[in-house]
């Protein structure tokens, strides 16, 4: 049997990411999910925006679109509308998805088109060298927040739920097996599935915030993530700087391409 990386990755490794970067863990978690789902690669589309995380599509042996900054979701929705029978995975980062792509994110959640979005949240703009993003915690340092950020951050998963995504989950790079399971569950769910992944950037985030060592960064991720079942027994004070992981929301919603197909049938049947 071929190793998973040979089955699902193109033979253009090594990747561009820094030592200690969490993106590779997410990429391998995705490949393990693929291995479990046994999807036909010819029938899978991978779409990404711009940033460190979005370079993932270059390595995946799929039909891949590395698009413009913030715009992965519009491209993905266009592709899904054109080929509703194909599976779509979208890869994005905290800057790409929550800042420049924020509006597209809201409306993709609302439409609930069947695809799986994986947002790698490393709390920083890594590719451009460490500027704060909308998901950088208050007070943390970045090159554009040298004295600590005064920008409030927000909870991307809560936004996704509010905007209508029918599957919302959060994983992290320390709990890699759980992450694979979440990606599998997100894929199996019919509708728009959002999976936020708490990740690490020791170079651009860690060094400025006193966690420069990749192992310490990993420990930091472990210490700041709490499984949903555990979190339910904790106080708001205890949860203040924690990320709750697991499936946070799952609901049945109308799937967009199915609704559009029904509309076409109705019109073609003469019923307007």
């Amino acid at each position: 049997m071929k190793p998973i990386y040979q089955e699902y990755f193109r033979n253009n490794l090594p990747h561009i990411w820094c030592a200690g970067c969490g993106n590779g863990i997410v990429m391998s978690a995705w490949a393990r999910a693929m291995d479990e789902l046994k999807l036909d690669k010819n029938n899978v589309i991978g779409v990404s925006g711009i940033g460190c995380s979005s370079r993932i599509t270059g390595y995946l042996d799929l039909n891949t679109l590395h698009t413009a900054h913030g715009r992965a979701l519009p491209f993905a929705q266009g592709a899904k509308m054109a080929r509703p029978d194909m599976d779509v995975f979208v890869f994005s980062g905290d800057g790409d998805c929550a800042a420049i792509g924020g509006n597209h994110f809201i409306h993709a959640c609302r439409r609930n088109m069947d695809m799986t979005l994986i947002v790698i949240n490393n709390n920083i703009y890594g590719m451009t060298g460490g500027q704060f993003s909308p998901l950088t915690p208050f007070g943390k340092k970045a090159t554009t927040a040298p004295y600590g950020s005064v920008d409030p951050s927000f909870n991307l998963c809560e936004l996704a739920i509010g905007a209508g995504a029918s599957f919302v989950a959060r994983g992290d790079i320390y709990h890699a097996k759980q992450l694979t399971d979440l990606i599998v569950a997100g894929y199996k769910h019919k509708g728009f599935s959002v999976i936020e992944v708490i990740a690490s950037c020791p170079i651009s985030y860690g060094r400025r915030n006193k966690i420069p060592n990749p192992a310490d960064m990993m420990q930091y991720v472990k210490d700041h993530t709490v499984a949903k079942a555990v979190a339910e027994k904790m106080t708001p004070e205890q949860l203040e700087d924690k990320y709750i992981t697991g499936i946070l929301h799952e609901a049945q919603g109308r799937e967009y391409t199915e609704e559009y197909a029904k509309l076409c049938e109705r019109v073609q049947g003469g019923d307007k």
Partner: protein, 377 residues
């Protein structure tokens, strides 16, 4: 038999798109282009084509490019402010060589400008709106019937050259209602992108082929490959190698510019037999033709050169048309965006006069007649 109807330019564009095989539309409402979206929303479901209203123009541009990568013939329609927002992705479609059509029903700018009034102010934006060197195809029809046929041509050229095509209506043409007589069963050449015939492992999606346009596989056809807005090698992966980058950028331009004879289309009226040549396009060309007719009845030798293809320009043809004339007059609804091209091409060999209106009104025949008389004094 063709049924005679009164049809609006925007509607003719929508009908032409369907005739061309458009199977996907994404757009965001904006005057004076909105009727195109409304017609697509109404007509597309009946033929199983897909319509989606996006959250903004950037999303619309992204959606059509994504749909085209997945095999659809895709387009959007907008106007100045929306077209400005789309520019980054016009460049993305150019660098990834994904065929799409952008309809821009021009209105008075800059910025919000005069939302319901006409302009031809996007001539240069269509060419240079996105950053970097790439070429582009742009078309500007002057009637409702021509809008129909040229919309089909826009899709054909997008597919043939793997490029974004800009379809430049102006508000006058977009909202003009006139006689429309098209046989729905008419045989019209429809061009679809050339597909690879090789085995997937031999496919080189961005190969430097003769002619400059490599075959394009759509997603789901067994050719798993990569599109990126990064400068890429022939395989489609990022490259910063100097010869690769240079060759790639030149091919993007050459595949259009070196095929200008195939792409460029114009109408020439009395061009060989005139002292003064008018060069006009879109709605203003109608005024120019009217002025020419009136002047010729009075014995004044005036001709009209009407570019239908705005970009690329067949410079040899313009040079030949202008040669030996007493003057060339370029009336347009902007401050000389096409006239500057004519000036550049004739390079001082013929006087070029600009006749510009930027008050949102159409240049009228009387103004053109006055200027012809002025230059012949």
């Amino acid at each position: 038999m063709a049924k005679v109807r009164l049809v609006q330019g925007n509607e003719a564009c929508a009908m032409g798109a369907l005739k061309a095989g458009a199977s996907f539309y994404a757009g965001y409402p904006i005057t004076p282009s909105t009727e195109i979206a409304e017609h697509m929303a109404e007509m597309m479901p009946a033929c199983g084509a897909r319509f989606i209203q996006m959250e903004d123009e950037i999303a619309s541009a992204g959606a059509i490019i994504g749909a085209s990568a997945a095999g659809a013939k895709a387009f959007t329609a907008t106007s100045g402010p929306g077209f400005s927002l789309m520019q980054e992705l016009v460049g993305y479609a150019a660098i990834t060589e994904i065929p799409v059509v952008f309809v821009d029903v021009q209105r008075m700018g800059p910025s919000t400008g005069l939302p319901t009034l006409s302009s031809q102010g996007d001539i240069q934006q269509a060419r240079w709106g996105s950053h970097g060197d790439h070429s582009i195809i742009a078309i500007a029809p002057n009637s409702v019937m021509e809008t129909y046929y040229q919309t089909i041509k826009a899709f054909n050229l997008a597919e043939k050259y793997r490029t974004p095509v800009i379809f430049l209506l102006d508000e006058e043409i977009g909202h003009l209602r006139e006689r429309f007589e098209v046989d729905e069963n008419e045989e019209i050449e429809i061009i679809n992108r050339e597909k690879p015939t090789c085995a997937p492992e031999d496919y080189v999606p961005f190969e430097n082929v003769a002619g400059g346009v490599p075959p394009m596989a759509s997603f789901g056809e067994g050719y798993r490959y990569h599109f990126t807005g990064l400068t890429h090698n022939e395989k489609g992966f990022y490259s910063s190698a100097l010869p690769v980058v240079d060759k790639f950028n030149r091919r993007l331009v050459d595949k259009i510019e070196k095929n200008v004879k195939d792409i460029f289309e114009c109408e020439e009226l009395f061009v060989d037999d005139c002292d003064v040549l008018l060069i006009a396009y879109g709605s203003v060309a109608r005024s120019a033709q009217e002025a020419m007719n009136e002047l010729r009845e009075a014995g004044v030798k005036v001709g009209l050169f009407r570019p239908i293809t705005i970009w690329p320009i067949d410079e040899e043809r313009i040079k030949a048309a202008c040669a030996g004339k007493k003057a060339v007059i370029v009336p347009e609804m902007n401050l000389g965006q096409y006239a500057r091209e004519v000036e550049r091409i004739v390079a001082g060999s013929v006087p070029v006069k600009k006749l510009c209106r930027v008050d949102s009104e159409l240049v009228i025949p009387e103004e053109i007649i006055d200027m012809v008389k002025e230059v012949l004094k």
